[in-house]
């Protein structure tokens, strides 16, 4: 069976969510891998949401906001623009491919663009494969049940 990635989409209310809606009303098909959450503004996206999504089992996270200069709250998308590169740096520090996170600008009239972005991102995540987080199912003494940790000191 081929791998179907789970992707969380965080869409701003004023442009991107409306853009996604437009894709729907225009019957543009895009992969069902995207689960979207509506926030008021891309500036509302705390990087913790992104880490939380990966922790909860997402293989990729897509954030969409209004084009620069178009944010309903004037500055929100610039805040997002400044946070995403640093979030990617941290993802790299955690050993997670930063390409699993993407920021795109989608306006309310860009249903077609939304379709393209989601299709392309889904393919990208598919090729990266599933994200399996270590450490989150850990219970003490798992090692005795064959868990790879704790490991003895190496270099026998």
């Amino acid at each position: 069976m081929s791998f179907e990635p789970k992707i969380l989409g965080i869409l701003c209310n004023w442009c991107s969510y409306t853009g996604a809606d437009l894709a729907g009303t225009a019957r543009l098909k895009y992969p069902a891998n995207l689960m979207s959450v509506r926030v008021m503004c891309s500036g509302r996206v705390d990087p913790g949401f992104i880490f939380d999504a990966f922790k909860a089992g997402a293989d990729g996270v897509l954030i969409c906001g209004c084009h620069p200069g178009d944010c309903h709250y004037v500055e929100g998308n610039y805040k997002c623009l400044r946070r995403i590169p640093m979030t990617k740096t941290l993802l790299q520090g955690f050993g997670i491919d930063p390409n699993r996170l993407r920021l795109e600008w989608v306006s309310a009239s860009e249903g077609l663009r939304f379709q393209q972005v989601v299709t392309e991102f889904t393919e990208q995540i598919r090729s990266l494969g599933p994200l399996q987080l270590k450490e989150w199912g850990y219970t003490p003494h798992q090692s005795e049940a064959g868990h790879p940790e704790p490991q003895p000191a190496l270099n026998q």
């Binding site: 990087p47 955690f94 003895p152």
Partner: protein, 323 residues
């Protein structure tokens, strides 16, 4: 009446928490008067087997400092949990992993290779790396097994209270001990389980006397490379300060002295991840709307992982390097 028993233990830690307890000055005499010291390996000679021989729940209070990174740490944590009525994660290592937790950025193999083979001060021509079990003429001897991942105390056993800080400030320790004695002496009710003691639930910025006026910056600087203005927010002067992502309770000592907050009091309850919160805070202070310039400004932050997660990596949302 027999005195209530007190235990203090160190797992993966530096010993600073034990020193901080001694640092409470004459209050330490109250501790000695009121409690019967059941176990404190840092201060006196106790044996694990003495603790194992005690009846369950016979220790009233255990202050456990240090992270859990070996089979020995876990074994003693579980032993003390069984013997104690109240188990307290004491200090940053026990509650969130702290400096030992930075081992989660790499692997056990890399750590052992560096420590025993590659570091410039190592002389190890036979390339010996300690093994959990070794055969000697007299038989087989063993040492505790070191783990690939450092964990916090609440991740491995049930913990009643948390006292944050690296180390917890002595005035806060003294206040907690006073409260404990008061509770035990006067039969007062215990605070609800999970309470964070010896700290507040606001951020370090809340205690910081420096002025903020929403100034934005074009680059970050290292603390030694400028003489910071004594009255203005350090972040607005380009110094990365973890105050916005850190619990208050320390009295903002570092920032008052002109040194940026490093985050040792951990997360206040409204924040879920110190690094994520720092990214938010830094995103608000950068003065640029151009993606390339933003990249350049961010690149002036040295070691973001080690700075934002210096104290809380094992307790963060992603916990360790996943590669």
């Amino acid at each position: 009446m027999a005195k209530p028993k007190l235990a203090i233990y160190w797992a993966a830690s530096c010993g600073g928490c034990d020193i901080a307890i001694l640092d409470i000055e004459d209050k330490i005499l109250d501790v000695a008067n009121f409690f019967d010291l059941a176990f404190w390996p840092c201060a006196a000679d106790f044996k694990y087997k003495d603790v194992a021989a005690m009846p369950d729940k016979s220790i009233t209070l255990t202050l456990f400092n240090g992270a859990i990174r070996s089979s020995e740490n876990l074994e003693i944590a579980e032993l003390l949990r069984a013997k104690s009525v109240v188990m307290c994660a004491f200090g940053s290592c026990a509650s969130e992993g702290c400096i030992p937790g930075l081992a989660n950025l790499t692997t056990l193999k890399e750590i052992c290779d560096y420590a025993y083979l590659k570091s410039p001060s190592t002389v190890n021509p036979e390339q010996i790396i300690p093994q959990p079990k070794t055969k000697v003429p007299e038989g087989e001897i063993s040492i505790p097994v070191l783990w690939n991942t450092v964990r916090t105390l609440p991740q491995v056993i049930d913990v009643d209270y948390i006292i944050p800080g690296c180390p917890p400030q002595s005035n806060q320790i003294a206040a907690v001990i006073e409260a404990v004695i008061d509770i035990l002496q006067n039969g007062k009710p215990l605070p609800p389980k999970g309470t964070v003691l010896g700290a507040t639930d606001k951020s370090c910025c809340d205690e910081c006397p420096r002025k903020r006026d929403v100034k934005k910056i074009k680059k970050f600087v290292r603390p030694f490379s400028i003489v910071p203005d004594p009255d203005i927010c350090l972040m607005e002067q380009g110094i990365v300060c973890c105050g916005p992502a850190t619990r208050s309770g320390c009295g903002a000592k570092c920032v008052i002295a002109g040194v940026p907050c490093r985050g040792c009091y951990g997360l206040p309850s409204h924040i879920r991840d110190q690094g994520a919160k720092m990214v938010s805070a830094i995103g608000s202070v950068i003065d640029s709307q151009d993606p390339e310039e933003i990249e350049r400004i961010i690149a002036t932050i040295p070691d973001p992982m080690g700075t934002f997660y210096r104290f809380s990596l094992p307790d963060s949302l992603l916990r360790r390097n996943q590669a």
